[in-house]
Symmetry: C2
Subunit: 451 residues, 2 copies
């Protein structure tokens, strides 16, 4: 067993932060000027700009364009000499001994802990669906989806005309939230434009992109009006949208679903899962150790100041937290699982931690909601924005798309990545080409019978 | 079983080209204006600019910067309507029935065949070394090496001071040909500059990069003078060079080698294999089927016109061919395994194929050798160039490095990639940062005892 934090000064309080997503990074930044010894732990070596992950999955961007090495992203914080970054998996949290367990054996002691471990996809108890319908949370997921999509067109080119070929050319996306809509819109653009004159035997424009949604409308977090606009834009891009379609089975050949017209079947070689999100399993570890409550999605119920009940030394932020936004007037409202909320939580948790060290009272979390945006495809997006004087403004189409572009470029971490992404997008917009259409792994013949 | 080439016109001769490296792509281009039906088969979906693959392995470039989707690279040839591109593995060649076998079951008939299947790495009969010392031929190889290198530094940060940490920080490169020298130079730059202030517990500059060469000098294809210059430049970059060091074993902990001083051991977590090259196993298939001779490296011995003895309908080009360069005067000389030679062979094979179709005599292969270049690291390279009046000119250092840069950017396929690579390099040069330091796969704890 190693010493806990071998480099730490005995005089500084030890803060451990788990996860380097939006919440974790903001917490590090907010703490880096204080007299605390910080250890940041993550299972990857990069901070991922997750809102653009679908662009990697659909071959529009390369991985380095939206992912920055943690050590590089935090290099100025690092140079202050109070931050240690460790690559490892937190397998348990011992809240009694105040230590996180790394990779099952290495213990890192803490005086204060910020857990920002995020979320993963949930198949609602059908874990066997994962093999046939990858979700989109990590770069490895994105590469998996990219490979499946590009190779499906390649397989179609080698099949004779018929049902098998059409199944290769059918892409189902389950879940019409922001990720599902983005994926469906991009897949349609790939089929309609990017690949359309690059095959000899197939016409890529005959590919079907089917968006399968269990509820009555797409992008249900938005107003009915914007949701209908989004539906119109999806149709214009060539996406088929099935609403009130509840998936009952997913296998290697496609999916089955219940619709108001009864049980249905969709043959599709490629299925992408964008339906369910569940909190990181570290929520379970915290619940077992502290008795804290979890909500239905496995998220940790936190106090107004984002700490755990009975454990003021532990804060939980981001997608792992079931947090409420507290206003001066009115009832608290639930905080959505979006990156601005995670950032704001990371900052407040750091601030409250420092307040506790100074013996000051902590502050409740208030989510400053500037609105919401969803992109659908080329020149297609919807937006609702809260403006100072005008109040809530809703708009869609080209202008919403440009606005979405601006916001996402602006928030991308690191000057260089912004430039790369902007160049790639400008190129893609005018050429219809997607620059990252690369499958790294060589093709291996499937061990199946001749077709 | 499928019909052979279902789209082919019965009147056009059917040409099958195996492999889309430099030789295969040039053959397609040279044939695309002729009245032939071309089928190009490759196991990947991209043409790879292999001379820059080490930059992907050392996190300087993203994969899409040096790889173009075949269908996009050949889109203008494709639009002439006589080219079919298929993704698949050629598992056999039936030269009697004149068909290549795809993925073990699909047969593609040909009237003429150009085999440009390239080379792979060879462990000289020690295939068990492959697991511990990846070679560098494909994008998947490059990602594997990138992951190993970056994670070795991460592991070192989690180890206590001592032999285990130093083993994490020791990088051995086996083979001091161009790839080995490039890899060693880049690894030294990463340790000395890129990472040097991004760790808390380790000093990345204490990493050792050891280049292990069995022969008496580095870059032995160059003159003694240039080889010595290269050695000086390697030393200046901080690379330790072991010559006359014959590797006898490679395992998870490092490698053993025989030196003039007797058997030695080098503990190194990361070993990169840049020593041996063997021709594609398709050479064996051709030999079994046609009785053609193979050389010691498994390359197919070809006629002066690059066809197979007794099989004028089959040409072999690129790294798979043991070809000779025929001059007007003097003895034929062996052709080196470099990309300009592969391109020239691809063009001549296509030209000779068309000559045969017209009933004209074929021409022998002459390798137009413009010289050779090897880069070593920042501002370090060696070059020998044949100039019209001056004859063979040798130079090294900054000027050779700029020349190398210019040549590689110039030959990169596709305007956009050139721009991307140039931007990335300019950024890397001034910032010392390497933009692709991303490991996609999340860390999984090793199932080993606590350390």
């Amino acid at each position: 067993m190693k010493n806990d934090n071998d480099n730490s000064s005995p005089t500084r309080p030890r803060v451990v932060i788990v996860g380097c997503g939006f919440g974790g990074i903001e917490a590090v930044r907010a703490l880096s000027q204080a007299e605390v010894e910080i250890t940041l732990v993550d299972r990857t070596n990069h901070h991922l700009f997750q809102p653009l992950l679908y662009q990697v999955a659909t071959a529009g961007l390369s991985a380095p364009a939206i992912a920055g090495p943690i050590r590089h992203v935090l290099r100025s914080e690092m140079q202050r000499g109070k931050l240690t970054v460790l690559l490892g998996v937190v397998t348990d949290i011992d809240t009694t001994a105040r230590a996180v367990v790394l990779d099952g054996h290495e213990r890192i002691g803490y005086d204060h802990l910020i857990v920002a471990a995020g979320a993963t996809h949930s198949y609602f108890g059908h874990d066997d669906w994962a093999a046939h319908a990858p979700g989109l949370k990590t770069l490895a997921d994105a590469f998996d989806i990219r490979r499946r999509v590009l190779l499906a067109f390649e397989r179609a080119e080698r099949k004779s005309e018929g049902a098998q070929r059409q199944s290769c050319l059918t892409f189902a996306v389950v879940g019409a939230g922001p990720t599902g809509v983005e994926m469906a819109g991009m897949l349609a653009e790939i089929a309609q434009h990017t690949l359309h004159d690059e095959f000899r035997r197939i016409d890529s424009r005959r590919a079907r992109v089917v968006l399968v949604e269990g509820g009555p409308q797409v992008l249900s977090a938005f107003s009915d009006k914007l949701s209908r606009k989004a539906l119109d834009q999806l149709h214009a891009l060539g996406v088929e949208v099935l609403t009130d379609a509840k998936v009952t089975a997913i296998d290697a050949g496609g999916l089955s679903y219940d619709s108001p017209r009864g049980p249905q079947r969709l043959d599709a070689d490629t299925v992408v899962w964008a339906a369910g999100v569940a909190a990181s399993p570290l929520g379970l570890a915290l619940a077992a150790s502290t008795g804290c409550a979890l909500d239905r999605a496995g998220r940790v119920v936190v106090e107004p100041d984002l700490s755990l009940a009975g454990h003021p030394e532990i804060h939980v932020v981001g997608d792992l937290a079931a947090a409420m936004s507290h206003r001066k007037r009115g009832e608290p409202t639930p905080v959505p699982g979006v990156s601005p909320a995670a950032k704001q939580m990371g900052r407040l948790a750091a601030d409250n931690l420092l307040r506790r060290l100074r013996g000051e009272p902590t502050r409740p979390f208030h989510y400053a909601d500037y609105g919401a945006l969803a992109t659908i495809g080329r020149r297609a997006a919807i937006a609702m924005v809260d403006l100072p004087v005008l109040g809530r403004v809703q708009f869609s189409g080209m202008f919403a798309w440009l606005f979405w572009l601006f916001v996402h470029i602006y928030f991308l971490i690191g000057f260089r990545n912004r430039l790369v992404v902007l160049t790639d997008w400008a190129w893609a917009y005018f050429s219809f080409e997607r620059q990252a259409r690369i499958v790294a792994e060589p093709h291996a013949p499937r061990p199946t019978a001749p077709s």
